[in-house]
């Protein structure tokens, strides 16, 4: 899990699956992402093949808290078969989802 900056955007890259073993670490890392001064936050899941329901809850929780703090968290790089899960939980109804981090950066640059 690595946090880095690209222009005005802060990106969290997840490099492994999220299971019960590392979901606490995922929560604290997401909290660190939220606490970053940047207003534009990206959660990049392009290397993630599995995440459990707790991870979904953490993402939704941070997305909602970001909105409350007048920030925006978006998700990028959801791979198959993870896209089916995101389709079911309808994350797109309350946060933006992009295919790549570049698309998300473009979106933030226009806003």
């Amino acid at each position: 899990m690595q946090i880095y900056q690209r222009s005005r955007v802060t990106i969290l890259d997840i490099k492994s699956e999220i299971t019960i073993k590392n979901s606490d670490l995922f929560r604290t890392t997401m909290q660190r992402l939220l606490n970053h001064p940047s207003l534009h936050l990206i959660l990049n899941l392009e290397h993630v093949t599995y995440l459990n329901s707790s991870a979904l809850g953490i993402i939704a929780d941070i997305a909602i808290k970001a909105k409350e703090a007048e920030k925006e968290l978006v998700i990028t790089g959801i791979q198959s078969p993870m896209n089916e899960i995101f389709e079911v939980v309808k994350f797109d109804t309350f946060m933006k989802i992009f295919s790549t981090a570049e698309e998300a950066i473009d979106y933030f640059e226009q806003h």
């Binding site: 329901s53 939704a60 309350f94």
Partner: protein, 391 residues
């Protein structure tokens, strides 16, 4: 790991020989080197029980803790005499393995002074001097209290599991339809739940839900929902109002004052057997399946799970059906069990094909079949399956 502490073992060998010869475990300064005295002190004053066995299994020395537990009289006796249940013990076999020079770890039940069982977790280390095994050093931790707490917790979880199973609806059989379900928690208790009620002469409400996570916390939330759901379904009747109230319930109760987000996916269906219509709302839940005329129609999700957002709008969808028809509802623990679990869609197709191929297939039968065939899951999950048979 084969541990050979040369200096230690030289002293131990002497201790073993000496103790075996003189039958006592105290040494004066002339008899022992300073180094050996240090090890002896460590051995004697250990907060855990420890003893030395010779290569025939006789206890040649024991520390203070072990004396307090089992009395000094066990010195000189074979270790078998302190086993609580020699018949079922595997320690004799393990002892032979230890004599081959292996360090072993395991659990055993020994007797205390009064003959009462004491549960221990031990490690036996071969004592090797000049490539010759002269005995074993056994260090053990008394885990009786921990064991008793575990049993107590297991008993309580067993009772909780019975309570949770008891609140699941039993098979409902009417002239127009039959509803049955089967639930297998990943642990004793879990976060899945299903209920159904007859709303009037021709309408039936069926709810299946899956609380995020597993175990006690998920079960508590699921039971909290269970306590309000019957009244909500019967009072409000309209699926969108019921979902809205449930969303408010879980949001207010668990998320308003909590640091972490609690949520559940749910699929609520109303079957109107008079008008041959199904009304449903799927909130972040795997699709339900309507099976009729050898075809499957999926009842797909149209909103996020409940508890995510305070002001979620829920839209009711409607399907018409022809008699006879079946509706299959399940939680994602079932679809994740599929051997082709790389894709949820493929797993759901497998479920559809199974029920299409076998009209008589029951919930318990199918769940058991899936459990038998499943590969090791990344994380075991609760499994629920509900079948509505419309005649």
């Amino acid at each position: 790991m084969d541990v050979t502490f040369k200096k230690l073992t030289v002293n131990m060998k002497r201790d073993l020989e000496f103790a075996a010869g003189v039958g006592r475990a105290t040494f004066n300064s002339e008899e022992m080197s300073i180094s050996a005295q240090r090890y002896k002190l460590l051995f004697d004053c250990s907060p855990h029980i420890a003893c030395m066995l010779d290569k025939h299994g006789f206890i040649v020395d024991l520390n203070i803790k072990m004396e307090e537990l089992a009395s000094s009289k066990i010195k000189g006796q074979h270790f078998n005499t302190i086993l609580y249940d020699e018949q079922s013990s595997l320690t004799a076999d393990l002892f032979r393995e230890a004599l081959a020079g292996n360090t072993l770890e395991g659990y055993e039940t020994i007797k205390d002074k009064q003959g009462a069982p004491v549960y221990i977790e031990y490690r036996s280390i071969p004592v090797v001097v000049d490539k010759e095994l002269v005995g074993l050093c056994v260090a053990a931790k008394d885990i009786t209290e921990k064991k008793e707490l575990e049993w107590q917790r297991e008993k309580e979880l067993h009772v909780a599991a019975l309570v949770q199973q008891s609140v699941l609806c039993q098979t409902l059989m009417t002239e127009s339809l039959a509803i049955s379900g089967h639930y297998v928690p990943a642990h004793n208790i879990g976060g899945d739940m299903y209920v159904w009620y007859q709303l009037d002469e021709s309408r039936f409400g069926i709810l299946i839900l899956d609380v995020m996570g597993h175990g006690v916390s998920a079960a508590l939330i699921s039971m909290s929902i269970r306590s309000v759901v019957e009244q909500l379904i019967k009072r409000l009747q309209a699926p969108d109002l019921i979902m809205k109230e449930l969303n408010e319930h879980v949001y207010t109760l668990f998320n308003e004052r909590s640091a972490s987000l609690h949520f559940f996916s749910a699929l609520y269906t109303v079957v109107d057997v008079e008008n041959k219509e199904i009304y449903y709302i799927n909130a972040g839940h795997p699709p339900g399946i309507l099976i009729q005329k050898h075809q499957c129609i999926r009842l797909v999700s149209s909103s996020p799970p409940l508890g995510f957002l305070r002001n979620t709008e829920f839209k009711t969808s409607m399907l018409s059906y022809e008699h006879p028809a079946r509706i299959i509802l399940f939680t994602d623990g079932l679809s994740a069990c599929s051997n082709n679990n790389s894709s949820m869609n493929q797993s759901i197709t497998e479920i559809e094909e199974s029920f299409l191929a076998n009209k008589q297939l029951g919930c318990e039968e199918y769940v058991q079949q899936v459990l038998l065939q499943r590969k090791n899951p990344v994380e075991p999950d609760d499994i629920s399956l509900v079948k509505v048979e419309i005649f």
